[in-house]
Amino acid sequence: MKATKRKRANLHNKTIDTVEFRVASDPKLLKIIRAGITHLCELIGFTPQQSQQTTLAVDEACSNIIKYAYGGATDKPIIVTARLIQNGIEIILRDFGKKAVPAEIKSRDLDDLRPGGLGVHLIRSTMDVVSYDTSRKRGNELRLAKFSAAPAAAANSDQTPVVPASS
C-alpha cells in the first residue's frame, strides 16, 4: 500500500526513470509490448541477440499471464514496467489474476516432445534474473533482468556522422 502511494506521488511530482505499459490481457496487444521492449534494449546498446532474447522472454511471460493468471480473459490489466539499470534492463510484469503455484511454474522436459510447455524454459534460458513473487495481496509479480556482458553503452547517441572535408 505504502509502496503504491510513494510510486504515485513520484509519478506526478518528481522524476521517472521507467517506461510502463498498461495493456489489456489481449494477445493482439503483445506486439506493442514487444516493440517497446526491443526499442529499449536497442537504446541501451544490447546486441540484436540480447534484444531478441529479452523481447522473447517478456512476450512469453505476458502470454503466460494471459493463459494462466487470467484464464484467457482478454480485458484484464497487465502492467509491464521496464527500467534501464546500470548494465542492462530490468522488467517487472504485474498481473491481478489467479496466483501461480510456484512449484508448477516449469516447462516440460525438453526431450518429451509435445506441443507447448516451452515458455518458462525460454524465459529462464534467456534472462539473467527470473523471480516470481506470488506474495502480493493480489495477483503476481515477475521480475526479469538481463545484463550485457560489458556495461551497457550510455543511452546517448554519440554516433559521429561522417562528414568529409568539402571544397
Binding site: 506486439k31 514487444r34 515458455g119 525460454l122 534467456t126
Partner: protein
Amino acid sequence: MLDIVTRQKDQAVIVAISGDVDLYSSPEVRKVLIGLTGRKAPLIVVDLRAVSYMDSSGIATLVEGLQQMSKYGGELRLFGLGAAVREVFELSRLDKVFQIYDSEAAALPDNQAAETP
C-alpha cells in the same frame, strides 16, 4: 498482421507465413496446418523467410503439425529461418528435431534429387 499463403508445388504444399507468429496469430497457422494434415498432405514445406518473430506458441503449433504428420508418414520441412526464429528453435532444442533447410529449392524433393543424381 499475419499473412499465410498456401500453394501446391508438385508433391509439396508450401505454406508461406509473413509477420509475427505469437499467441495472437499462431491459431491462424494452426488452422492451416490442421487443414492440411487432416487430408494427409504428404509433404508440407513451411516458408519462414518473412517471419521476423516467433514465440513458443508458434513452435508448439509446428510441433503439433510434425506429430500429426508422423502419424501418417508425412513430412514437415522448414526453410528461411532468420536469426531470431532460429534461436528459438535452438533454445528449445528443436533445431535437430525439425528438418530445417536454407532455401525453398533445398527443401523441395525434386531439387534434392537433382542435387544428388
